[in-house]
């Protein structure tokens, strides 16, 4: 299928959209997709994965061995994920963590979460996040010359760090 924007290259990115009141699919080549802001790191995910697998695993033997590993929750193999570009379930991220990490690094440039935590987050992460917030407040308090507040914050930080 040819790209509907340039009409020249093979379409690799498929975008669902509404055209004149009807649901339609627009097919774009990689270049046009990027030009139009469909920065699909993920459109090429499958391809990259194959390459990645190929270079990492070397021979076919280890590759089949690798692809036999299945997620015990949803049944996905790593090849399923690579081909569809869809991770099957939360557990897949544990099972295939090492395999997924290079792509995650490429997509985001980072591999460790910063920001809001769910209630199920581990206590260590929760404490680290509280500490980081308190330290931020401390810096702000010192900057604003609110020394009483700063002293209190420092005590809180010390207390938390002692626990950790």
């Amino acid at each position: 299928m040819l790209c509907q924007s340039c009409g020249q290259n093979q379409a690799t990115t498929h975008i669902k959209t509404i055209i004149n009141g009807e649901l339609a699919e627009v097919n774009l080549c990689r270049e046009c997709a990027q030009k139009l802001g469909y920065n699909s790191f993920f459109g090429n995910f499958g391809m990259d994965f194959d390459k990645f697998l190929g270079s990492l695993m070397g021979g076919n033997e280890s590759r089949t061995l690798k692809s036999r590993k299945r997620c015990n929750c949803c049944g996905s193999t790593f090849e399923d994920i690579a081909k569809s570009g869809k991770v099957g379930c939360a557990n897949c991220y544990d099972i295939f963590y090492d395999e997924l990490l290079p792509s995650i690094q490429r997509i985001h440039g980072k591999t460790v979460h910063i920001g809001k935590l769910a209630k199920s987050a581990g206590s260590e992460v929760k404490m680290k996040s509280t500490l980081a917030k308190l330290k931020e407040e401390l810096t702000a308090a010192i900057k604003e010359q609110e020394f009483e507040k700063a002293a209190k914050l420092r005590d809180q930080i010390k207390e938390l760090e002692a626990k950790g």
């Binding site: 509907q4 924007s5 975008i15 669902k16 959209t17 509404i18 055209i19 004149n20 009141g21 009807e22 649901l23 627009v26 774009l28 990027q34 030009k35 139009l36 802001g37 469909y38 920065n39 790191f41 993920f42 929750c73 949803c74 049944g75 996905s76 569809s84 570009g85 869809k86 991770v87 099957g88 379930c89 939360a90 991220y93 544990d94 997924l100 792509s103 995650i104 997509i107 985001h108 440039g109 980072k110 591999t111 460790v112 979460h113 910063i114 920001g115 809001k116 935590l117 769910a118 209630k119 199920s120 987050a121 581990g122 260590e124 992460v125």
Partner: protein
Amino acid sequence: MDKWYNKSGNEGDVVISTRIRFARNLKEYPFPCRLNDETKCKVAALVKDAILNGNSALASRFEYIQMPELTQEEAVSLVERHLVSPEFISDRQGRGLLLLDDESVSVMINEEDHIRIQVMHQGLDLAAAYDIADKIDTLLDERLNFAFNDKLGYLTQCPTNLGTGMRASLMLHLPGLQQSKAMNRIASTLSKLGLVLRGMYGEGSEPKGALYQLSNQVTLGISEEQAMSNLRDVALQLVAQEREARNNLTKNIEVVDAISRSYGLSRYARLMSNEECMKLLSNIRFGIATGIIDKIDFDIINRLMIETQPATLMKNVGKKLSPSERDRIRADVVRSTMLKTNIPNNRRLEN
């Protein structure tokens, strides 16, 4: 209830709306792509119950919509009103939508992820929109078990949403930059900053109505606050550039003529295609912002941009219409609205 898109907000001459979207999943169930319809319905029931029976002042203002029960026009109209994604209506089985009465909050159930919380506000209003999304998210977190990993943050079907799972977007009206042919340059600069700019309507190089969406691309390793602050800083620069481009363009009599003609057509035309309508409304918006057209609120144009979309037009009329019937009714809607506004005080060009 007045809908959010009937108002205009901060930097309203350029920023039409702000959207915050969170992606969340339930720990106990595989992601929707791995669920059958029956299990999808179970997930939908859990999320619906958590919101409607949750301890929130908003709970009583939500309506639950079973997606398979909608007509095709009603479903497409949800997309035209920016309440759900095109993907969400492509296969409606097992999918549900929670919608707040003023349509500023929608919760899509079983789209790509189990839960997509979306908050829309008029103008540039990231902090307030985030605040509401955050509250709904916290409420759901109390009653459900979210898939979360200490290293990777909120777990999502697509790794591009890992981390905060937050996508913040601004809908921008950029006729000045579009007509100055500056969009390609800007889009490529933005991608280096972890942001993405794309056309809202149409996949061509000149999106209809000069409407664009600017959003953050990176969600892992950057906090919600930092991502929003980056987006806001870049948006304000774009706003300044857009205003400058508009001022330069309106020194050109051809541009002023196009704007004035659009205004005239909007008041007298009897047939109007969707494409022409978006072009006219975009020109009129441009004209109001630069003072070429007086005394029309942006909110009137914002509303028309949505109400004249094909499926929304049919939904409001209450029946299926052929394209030519739609063109007639669209022109009626635009004409009657524009004739209610005051006669413009056509300004002479200086110099």
